[in-house]
Amino acid sequence: MIRQFTLVVLVALLALFSGLSQAQWAPDIEAWNSPQPEQAEAVVFRNATVWTADEAGILENVDVTVRDGQIDAIGEDLRAPRNAIEIDATGHHITPGIIDAHSHAAILGGVNEASRISTADVRIRDVIDPESINIYRQLAGGVTTINLLHGSANAIGGQMAVVKLRWGDEPDDLVIDSAKPGIKFALGENPKQSNWSNDTPRYPRTRQGVAQIIREKFQKAADYQAAMDDAPSGRGARDTVLPRPNHELAAIAEILSGVRDIHSHAYRADEMLALMELAEDFGVTIGTFQHVLEGYKIAPQMAEHGVGGSSFIDWYAFKYEARDAIAFNPALMHQSGVLTGLHSDNPELARRMNLEAAKAVRYGQVDEHEALKMITLYPAAQLRIDDRTGSLAEGKDADLVVWNGHPLSVYSRVDQTWVDGRRYFDREADRRMHEALEKERQELIAQVLDAGDEGDSDASEPAAAESDEPDTPGMRSFAAHLTSGMPQHTHLHGFTAHLVGYRPSELSHDDYCLFHFE
């Protein structure tokens, strides 16, 4: 009896403790100092409006249960699984985590291997910075999966990496291995090096040249693969010089055999038609056109080929080839049956992809739920990860976002973002973190001020006559010291913005990305 009582008390205490620890969990600004959020045994979100991005549509006043990182059930008045964390989501909306099919957020500084016209042998998964602060901030915008793409300086770029935003994990643990392998291609002004000075210009300098060099590489890769396939193995190989392994051609050969998808940066109709024709000559179906600004002009041809469109919603006029980019592009591609998604290509924009989806409603009157799919299910399908994520359905990964209002409304915010059933972002926890940081900061400032006072009162200490420093470090100079370090300068319209404390891998230069390499 007493034993039983003790057990009950223990269980109650444990429950209280775990509840408290859950409530008090806060990340650190540094990923390496942040405990990985626990994967709760079970979670139940109560009474939310759930946008499934699935055939179930938008469900009002329903519960979502999560077990071991996967969605267990969605429905009315669900029975809570054992030991479930209860979250009252009344008045809140829940959507799938946002999938950004075009990002460089955690590889900045390692985006472009621009040296050769084809760098198919280069792997983005080798340069992922899993501690990038961009990852945390994108979680704060509801993003849970991003496609890290090589840049567009060359016609055939490097191999991409589809990653979940498991901030602070080991680089390889972010990568979704079940995603179909992919490679970046690029057409138009970037591979032909129109917009940056180049001391040693390389072929090609025209769109014709871009198409030609891709065809030539395909031919070479086909020959290479044939030679590899024909090479004798086993005993027969002893007396033969085997073909020399070529990682570049091997990767391109994977495209030809359908193992690796092409995700091609493309703006203009002509260059996209040329690549589709070329691909069809080799029996290849292109995965997606990225940016796909003039996709609306050839949407029926895209639908027939089976290529997806991963688009900006309203960026235009930054290059001549972006002149005819119109915000109705996603709506028009969608109307023609093209698998259409919206992407960020920018670590700041990535934090408000819900508003980019809202613009698909504005421009072309796409249905709101369909617009949401353009940042969830459809990009997941483009990356071939829609069996795991991108919509809310039983058995899928618990990658979801809790919004404080309509997810496409400008007045809504992300309250929580969950990846694999782990709460990676929580607005309340974020607030607690910054309160703690502010407290620590004030304590440090007080300590420095104290130290300064002691220095002054110490008469035995020889006066620092040669020092130009003021006698006591004032708040302003100390603050200046805190904000100094190695400021990175970005030219921002006529005056300098100072970005302070960032790693090179976190800095985004819009000029760098957009006008040159992207």
Binding site: A140, F318, R413
Partner: protein, 441 residues
Amino acid sequence: MTTTASSTSSEPTMNPNKVNTLKFLLLLLALAVLPASAWAKTLVLTGATVHPVSSESIDDATVVIEEGLIAAIGTDLEWSADAEVIDLAGLHLFPGFVHPATQLGLVEISSVAGTVDTSEMGSINAALRAEVAINHDSYILPNTIAGGVLTAHIMPDGGLIQGTSAVVNLDGWSWQEMVIRTPVGMHLVYPAAAVDDENNEDLKTINRVLDLARHHHAASLAAAEGDAAPPPRNDQLEALAPLLNGDQPLYLRANRYDVMEAALDWADEQGFENIVLMANSDVQYLADRLARDDVPVILRNVYALPTRRWEPYDMAFVAPARLAEAGVRFAIADSGGGMDIANARNLPFQAGSAAAHGLDKADALKSVTLWPAEILGVGDQLGSIEVGKRASLFAATGDALEPMSRIERVWIDGEEYDLSRDHGRDLYPRYRERNATMQKR
């Protein structure tokens, strides 16, 4: 519920006879000098929910427009039989957004150098006037208007003292016709490096030029009174006279809180009293001082990553709310350059996002309409739907700060704007039809 201008004792639209007399005079005028004027008729917009911004919204209200100006607003108005009446039932009427700082019209395709007139070389460009390079037929302007941004403050750039800016209508047959007010102010970048270097060369240059301009001005005054020979003409120094006289505001640019602080201290020392601070979200650190000194702010970019790595993710999102709490007068802008020029149409969403992060919704709307108009010195003409103001307004399907809403009709100075001039609205129906036809085959 009726709103009328306090300055007019009678209400012309309430009296059909007066309206007719006015119309007759207008007709004569039109026949004489303005044969193509669209103001021949009284324009009556009925049935919409009107959001005056300066006062509470009114359901099913009417706005009467005469001679390009708002003549009356209310729910029980009358108008002459021959007025042009437009039914806007189900729509929402808003005043056009006023962009507080941009280079619209000065660039067409940013990567094509020949189409870019945004930034002049040299340190001292006081005599530059931004508006003289506005391409009134820039294809970006119709796209911007279709987003409800009908008026903009066009600023120069480049160097330390950058020249003067102008408030313009985004529609017109020449830049001269577009100009509403010029010069609005002299633009000056406070050199960041001067914060901890009192011998900073850039600051010394600025100070020297201002001193020279003062001497030049004094010499000119003396010459005007016949006391001395006139000084040699100097375009740059003469251009600074209105600023030094206090007739022209100083648009002071700084982008880090300690730079802003130093810039304001410097402006005090120089004796500049009429200052508008153009700054990024760091400005929130100075909110109390700005409120105390009543320095209005043009906040550049709510959509920005934190300047410092350790700052909260929403640092820039909350900046407007912080300014509002402290009582700072402000307007929300985008960066005004780069990608934001072509996408100036997204300005209202920055205000909406500020409301998601603590700014009152009504204040968010004001921060891109009435408040920029007031800060720019055109608050008597623009920024709200009020009697006597320019009839630059638009009808939307819903809340104008929501990206989901669509803008259906636009009027600039009482003339309806042809929205099919928007590149997207031109191409969309053409390709929709063609794609559908192609897929039927």
